[in-house]
Structures are given as C-alpha cells and as structure tokens.
C-alpha cells in the first residue's frame, strides 16, 4: 500500500522544535492546499503540542519522505530541524504508527485519551478540504476503531497520571458530589490555576481563590469563574471549605496544625481535604493526625501517578494486540481490492441471485422452456456486468495502487456487499 507518513514528536524533538512546528487549523488548511497540488493525492495533517505529522498517498511513485521533510523545513526556515528528528513510515509501518497514536500509546502521557479526538479533528479538516478519498476514509475508520477498542477493552486510559488529576482523583475518593462542596485554592500561580481549572471542570459547587497579590487572584478567578477571598482574612474563613488546595511559592508554612485544629472544631469535624501541592510545602503535615483531615502533599500524589502509570504500562500488550488485529483486518480488506477476485466475486454474486430466482420459478415452465430461461437469464446477467467488468479491467491496466482504481474496486465491493457477504 502506497501510504506515507512523517512525524516530529516528543520522542524525537525538543519542545522548541515542536512548538515551532505546531500548526493551527488555518495553517493546516493552507498546508493541505500545498500538499494537494504537489505531494499527495489524499492525506491529512495531525498537529498537537507534542507532535506534527503528515500522512498521505503520494501523487507520484517517486515522491518519498525526503520530499515531505523538505516541504516542512522550507515552510519553517527560521528553525533548525535535523533529519534524525523526523520519524519516517511507509505502508504498514505508517498505518501501525497512526494506530499507536490513536490508541494513545505513542503519547507523552501514556494512554492519553484526547489524542483520538485530535486525530478525528485532523481528519475532518482534510475532509472539508476534499483531501480524503476512499482509501484514507477506510484508514481513518480503522484508526478510530483502534482508539475506541483500546479505551473500552483495556485500562490503558484509567487512573490519573498527572499530579493535578491525581489530586482530583483523590478528592473524588472522599466526596461523592463535588457540586455540593466548596473549595479554596491558595496561590494564583500556574499550579494553583491548573488545580482551580480541574475543580471547575469537575463541577465544584463554590470555588474561591486567595493570593498575596490581589491582582493575580483576580486574573485567575476570572479565568475559572471563582470568587476572591482577601489573603489577610483567609485563615478566619477556612472552616467554610471542604477542600483546600495550597500552591503558593511561600518558603514558610502558611497553615500550621493549630490553624487546622481551630478550623476542624469550627466545622464540627466534617471531612476536609488539605491538598498541599506547593514545594516547599505550605501546610504542616502534622495536620494529617487530626480526625477527618485528609492531608496530602506532592509526594503522596506522586505515589498515585506512579502506580497508575505502572498499571497503564501493564496494559500495553493488550493494546498492541488490538493494533495487530486491526492491521490484519485492514490489510485483508486492502488485499481483497485486487481486480480478478473482485470480478469473480461480482459475477458469483449475480449468478447466485440468478440461479436462485430461476430455481424458484422453474416449475412454471415446460421441460423445453427451462433451458431457454436459463440461457436468457445468463445473457441478461452477462450484459449487465459487461461495462463494470471492462471498467475494472481498465483499472487493472493503470495499476491497483492508484486512488481511482482503489475507489472503483472498493465501491463495487461495497455497493454489492461482497465483503459483508464474505464475512458472514
């Protein structure tokens, strides 16, 4: 199969290169216009923060990855991209790579389940630009099946593998309905903002931000639709919160055991989560000794992350098995696209229908007419199949690797349900 792919990703290139090569939707559309005219007959571009990849069917047999590399390098003359930073794939290996990407096992975060959506999006853009033909449609369908099977049949995407998600996972093991809970995020830096976003995404009931610099708190509060609590008063109001996440850059402990004791007394010892994700720590770890206080710091969250990562790694063989199965499925379909078997299957299909129908009516004809009925119906079938057979043979002359041939063969097999019949 004449299917080509190149990739620059987190395995091969530093973040500066990946950043420089990251393409937004408009850029992808422009690139597709270039590729369409020069390099590919059909294809698509996948670009995320960790990878930029070109997939496609070469317009001419002599086009190879060197042309694709050159195209990308010429497009971004300002950055230095080395040859070894490109991964190159052809035919089966290109498909295998796409399947691995779709299943999330090639991602920086193993088992990342957002990548399948990004693959779908890339494909949709290519479709909008009429850059997707019969073969690529089938390639995409197969990739989507791999992604879905990996998600549903394995635990490759289970459990949090980032510290901020681990914090949310832990909170969800303590409280059942976050929409009825209140949370305070202390610190409006990057970590605090991410934590606040996760809580908002999980539907936290009330979200409050406090920070030494009021303006910074204001900015984050606006981004996550939270209220602001002045830093000077936050200790007096601690008892109002079920979840307290601290992520300041303070070098001192800002909540000591006594503060926590007072807070717990005021809230009648209702369960409280204290999540200290600051380094150095903001909350006195001795607070964990108090009943119904669930204190966790970055180390305990890292335990969850490492355990989940280990579990995901153990799922890799299952995902790889799914990929192998879908590669076999894809190539058995692809290999069925040969001319002679298609003509034979098509003729067999028509002949089967003809013979069945003749058999049903045969008793209504006299002995001598039966032979005539047989001859006439065969002649009709031959005439009906004459033109399609000629078209298929023409396709054979141009070679089955061309998109036109593949489309013709695939359409015929599809329209007459030849593959479906075979599977049954």
């Amino acid at each position: 199969m004449n299917f080509l792919a190149i990739s620059i990703n987190h395995h091969t290139a530093p973040v500066e290169v990946r950043e420089a090569l990251h393409l937004n939707q408009d850029e992808i559309k422009n690139y597709i216009d270039d590729l369409k005219n020069n390099l590919f007959t059909e294809g698509f571009i996948l670009s995320t923060c960790n990878r930029t990849e070109l997939y496609g069917i070469p317009a001419k047999p002599e086009i190879n990855y060197i042309d694709l590399e050159k195209y990308l390098i010429d497009k971004k003359p300002s950055i230095e991209i080395k040859d070894e930073q490109f991964q190159k794939f052809f035919s089966c290996s290109a498909l295998n790579h796409l399947f691995r990407v779709s299943a999330g096992i090639d991602s920086l975060l193993l088992g990342d389940n957002q990548i399948l959506g990004q693959v779908k999006e890339s494909f949709q853009i290519a479709e909008e630009k009429y850059f997707v033909g019969f073969l690529l449609k089938r390639v995409f369908d197969a990739a989507a099946i791999v992604g879905k099977r990996a998600k549903n049949e394995t635990q490759i995407s289970d459990g949090a593998i980032t510290v901020s998600y681990a914090a949310v996972q832990l909170i969800e093991k303590i409280f059942s309905n976050l929409s009825k809970k209140t949370a305070l995020v202390i610190g409006a830096g990057e970590t605090g903002e991410i934590a606040a976003k996760h809580l908002r995404d999980k539907g936290i009931g009330r979200l409050v931000i406090t920070n030494r610099t009021y303006e910074k708190a204001e900015k984050v509060a606006e981004a996550v639709n939270a209220r602001i609590l002045p830093f000077s008063h936050f200790k007096e109001n601690l008892h109002d919160f079920d979840i307290i996440i601290s992520a300041t850059s303070s070098n001192e402990i800002i909540l000591n055991k006594e503060d926590i004791k007072v807070m717990m007394k005021k809230r009648g010892y209702a369960a409280t989560v204290l999540m200290d994700i600051a380094v150095p720590r903001d909350i006195d770890p001795a607070g964990r000794d108090i009943d119904n206080v669930f204190y966790h710091d970055i180390d305990s969250l890292n335990i969850i992350v490492e355990q989940n990562l280990k579990k995901r790694k153990e799922e890799l063989p299952k995902v790889e098995k799914i990929i192998r199965e879908e590669l076999v499925n894809f190539f058995s379909w692809y290999n069925s696209l040969e001319i002679a078997p298609t003509i034979k299957s098509l003729r067999d299909y028509f002949e089967e229908i003809r013979a069945d129908e003749v058999q049903k009516m045969i008793n209504k004809f006299s002995g001598e007419d039966r032979e005539k009925v047989d001859i006439v119906t065969k002649r009709i079938i031959n005439k009906l199949l004459h033109q399609p057979t000629i078209e298929l043979k023409k396709a054979a002359e141009t070679g089955i690797e061309t998109p036109e041939s593949i489309t013709k063969i695939g359409l015929i097999r599809n329209l007459f349900g030849i593959d479906a019949k075979k599977e049954n």
Binding site: K173, S176, A271
Partner: protein, 274 residues
C-alpha cells in the same frame, strides 16, 4: 422430598461460594465484562435459596425460624437479598464480595449444624413469633450490612490517610457513599429491630410465665438498641459524623452477634432454643 432438602442444604454453601468467588474475581480484576454477569450468579443463588426455604417449610411443617441454625439460613438469604436490592437500586459495585461473604458464613454454619426438626415446641408455633422473627432478621440484615460498610469505610479511610492506594482505593466507592450506605442500613436495621423487640416484649409474658425483665438477652438487646438509637440521633443532628458513627455501628453489630451467641449457647436465657 427430604433427599432434595439434604442435597439443597449441601449445594447452597457451594453456590454462595461460587458467587463470592465471582464477586472477588471481579473485585481484583475490575473487568467490565463481569459487571452484569456476577449479579446473575447472586440472583440464581437467591432463587435456589428461596426454593430451599419453601420446601423445608412444607416438609417439616414450620418455617425455619425455631432455632439459631434455621435462622442462620434465613439470615444468609436476607443479607443476600438486601444486598441484591441495594446493588440494583444504587448501582454501587465493588462492595458485593464483602457482604455476600457474610451470607456465605451464615449459610455454611447453618448447613453444617441444621437438624431436621419435625417436632416444634408449642410456644414457637405463634403468629406473633413469626412477625417478631421477620423483623429481627430484617434488623440483623440491616445492621450486618451497616457494619460491613462501616468496616469498608474505616479501611478506605486508613488507606487514604496513610497514602496506600491499592485495590481498596481503586475499587471501593468514595467515603461519603460508604458512610451513607452504612448509616441508611443502620436506620433500616434499627427500625426493624425496634419492631421486633416491641413484639417480643408483648409476646414474652404470654409465652413464658416465668420470664424476667432482667434476662441477659433483654438487657443486651436493650443496650444494642440504645447504641444504635443514640448513634442515629447524634448523626442526624450533625454532632457526630464519619469515623465515630461507623465505629459505633460496628460496635453495635459485634455486641448484637455476641449477645446472640451467649444467649443461645452459653447462658440460660428464654432465648436459648437450641
């Protein structure tokens, strides 16, 4: 018919064992494909158990409530059914093993020690006794389930506090749900036990002319009842929550079991029927 009863009595613990095995396997593996089929195992076991109780009642001319090992089989069935309904209503999974294993324990004890009693004391052939036992069993099923959820709460509580994120952390529902399940089961158990105790107190003077209000069974029952009552009031008014409430529920359950064992096997009480 007696042969069928005897075979069923042997088969039942194995059915419970199989169901417990399926629930345990699902708990350890956490595979999605077993999520529904394990419920079918429990359902079939409970249907078979009901059939066993019915044929036993017909053959021996009394419901199996006249001694502790007859009651154990009904208790096993009551715990199983209560959990089955709980799983259907709440769709909370991952806790089945811990509850059905208790039903298995009661059924094993019953299957080993149960006798074919055809002669039953007249005092035990009373309609009031039937109502009393029904509510007592419902109550015991309730407090057993409450204690199991309480135990699971404490285990998960400890795991989270000590940063141990193993199977318990992965599979169990969250602490708030466990606390709620423990409390709701305790409330149902408490109401049923209140009815059972009230009926018992009405029936006792009629059935046993020489009975005394200082009987150990009555005293311990009153203490257990009081513990649950106080716990429910403290939790409802928000004075106690979390760990304290579940510890009280577990203590109440242990005391109730202890009182049953003592009054039936060791001390001389009107409640010794074996």
């Amino acid at each position: 018919m007696q042969n069928t009863i005897h075979y069923s009595n042997i088969i039942l613990p194995f059915l419970y064992l199989l169901t417990v095995g399926v629930y345990l396997y699902d708990f350890i593996k956490g595979e999605k494909k077993l999520a529904h089929s394990k419920r079918l195992f429990l359902f079939l076991t409970l249907i078979f158990h009901t059939f066993y109780i019915i044929i036993r009642t017909i053959e021996f001319d009394h419901p199996p409530i006249t001694n502790v090992f007859e009651i154990f089989t009904i208790l096993a069935c009551a715990i199983g059914f209560s959990y089955f309904i709980l799983e259907l209503v709440t769709d909370i999974r991952g806790t089945g093993f811990f509850i059905i294993v208790i039903a298995l324990l009661f059924q094993v004890l019953s299957s080993i020690f149960i006798r074919d009693l055809t002669e039953v004391k007249d005092v035990l052939r009373s309609n009031l006794l039937g109502v009393h036992v029904f509510h007592a069993l419902l109550g015991y099923a309730g407090i057993t389930i409450s204690a199991v959820y309480g135990f699971l709460y404490l285990t998960l509580y400890k795991e989270i506090k000590t940063n141990k994120f193993g199977l318990i952390f992965d599979r169990l529902p969250n602490l708030e749900i466990l606390e709620r399940l423990s409390f709701s089961s305790a409330v149902i158990g408490f109401i049923a036990l209140s009815i059972a105790t009230t009926i018992g107190l009405i029936w006792l003077p009629q059935a046993f002319p020489d009975f005394s209000y200082t009987d150990p069974k009555l005293i311990v029952t009153f203490i257990v009842w009081l513990m649950y009552g106080v716990g429910i009031i403290l939790k409802t008014t928000g004075q106690w929550r979390g760990k304290k409430v579940v510890v009280l529920s577990i203590a109440g359950f242990l005391l109730a079991i202890f009182s049953t064992i003592v009054t039936n096997f060791i001390s001389r009480s009107f409640h010794s029927f074996y």
